[in-house]
Symmetry: C2
Subunit: 206 residues, 2 copies
């Protein structure tokens, strides 16, 4: 059975929702960031990067959200979570998820993870001040140029939707008002109503 | 025919090498960063993010290196650039490329692109000072925990190899001595000798 390592409030929620959407059999295990469990020897043996998510499969362990999401989509084709038989359409899905991973999540991370890229408190404060601008720019670009509607890729719900939704849950803390982005605000509201999202959140709070 | 928009010295080299490895028919067009051509209206119509690479295909335009690389591998299966028929092995490839994209490339970008995430010159200088440490840590992790050898994923050359190689070309400028990482130094040397790498570099300098 699949096993997902997660921490609440992190991007692991995207993979968690996708597992629930896929109808997969899975277990979840919480990693406690408050005690720095992600850097414990036991967890580093699972993911040497000391991050979540990590997905334990019968074949081995996977890390990195875009890779885990694509694996879930390809492993549960009946759930139709990605156009796995169309190389171009699949690449479009990967493109959105790559952008979320490398640009949007990274912009957000500068709010509280500045020590990854700098050393001085003044730099951390400077980074934190810029997050409303950078995250606002990312989500405005998604609203205007990427989001097809009603789901990210158009009529079909895909693995892009739980990933976008997960990052959108960070916007309030990042100082971005999603209400000013009508398509994304509507997406966010519809996502919160999905059974798989409710299931994943309940499992993370259990 | 495929058309790749690139700028010299950028991560677009990874997609360029992969096209050459695949034996694809392709054209390349250089975007001039010195005149900020990446943010010109003409180019923003191709890639609203104002970045390279962008790959024009008969189906539409693709952006983001991991997505372009996966598309090339899936579109030219005879080149065997990824295990496209094995969801787990393919996800392992995607995992490496996601890490390169979201962690390693991002760490590098703090050397000269600090204005993406901060506003003060003191912050940019602080970020720049930390790059040898962050890039050194990334490549040490790749050397010790990710790289299987002789290629990134083991015996088979994949789309991870041109991506790792491209980022490794930045290490000298980032203050990291690849000679201290014997497996990656050997990989880098063997990559520079490949015909596809020489072809791509020659096309970028033409």
């Amino acid at each position: 059975m699949l096993k997902l390592y997660f921490a609440p409030g992190t991007c692991a929620l995207a993979s968690h929702i996708a597992l629930a959407e896929a109808g997969a059999g899975y277990a979840v295990e919480r990693i406690d960031f408050k005690t720095n469990q992600q850097n414990s020897p036991d967890y580093l043996a699972i993911n040497p990067k000391g991050r979540v998510p990590a997905l334990v499969t019968e074949h081995g362990i996977l890390t990195e959200t875009p890779a885990i999401l694509a694996f879930i989509a390809q492993s549960f084709p009946k759930a139709r979570l990605a156009p796995v038989d169309d190389a171009f359409a699949f690449a479009q899905v990967q493109s959105i998820n790559s952008y979320l991973c490398s640009t949007v999540h990274v912009a957000h991370a500068h709010r509280v993870r500045g020590s990854r890229w700098a050393s001085e408190e003044t730099s951390f404060a400077d980074m934190k001040r810029k997050v409303p601008e950078t995250m606002g720019a990312c989500f405005t670009l998604i609203e205007n140029k990427m989001f097809k509607g009603p789901w990210v890729m158009g009529g079909q719900y895909t693995i892009c939707d739980p990933y976008l939704h997960t990052i959108a849950t960070w916007l309030e803390g990042d100082g971005v008002d999603i209400a000013k982005l009508p398509k994304l605000a509507d997406h966010h509201r519809r996502m919160t109503e999905r059974a798989a999202v409710k299931k994943a959140l309940a499992e993370q709070q259990a």
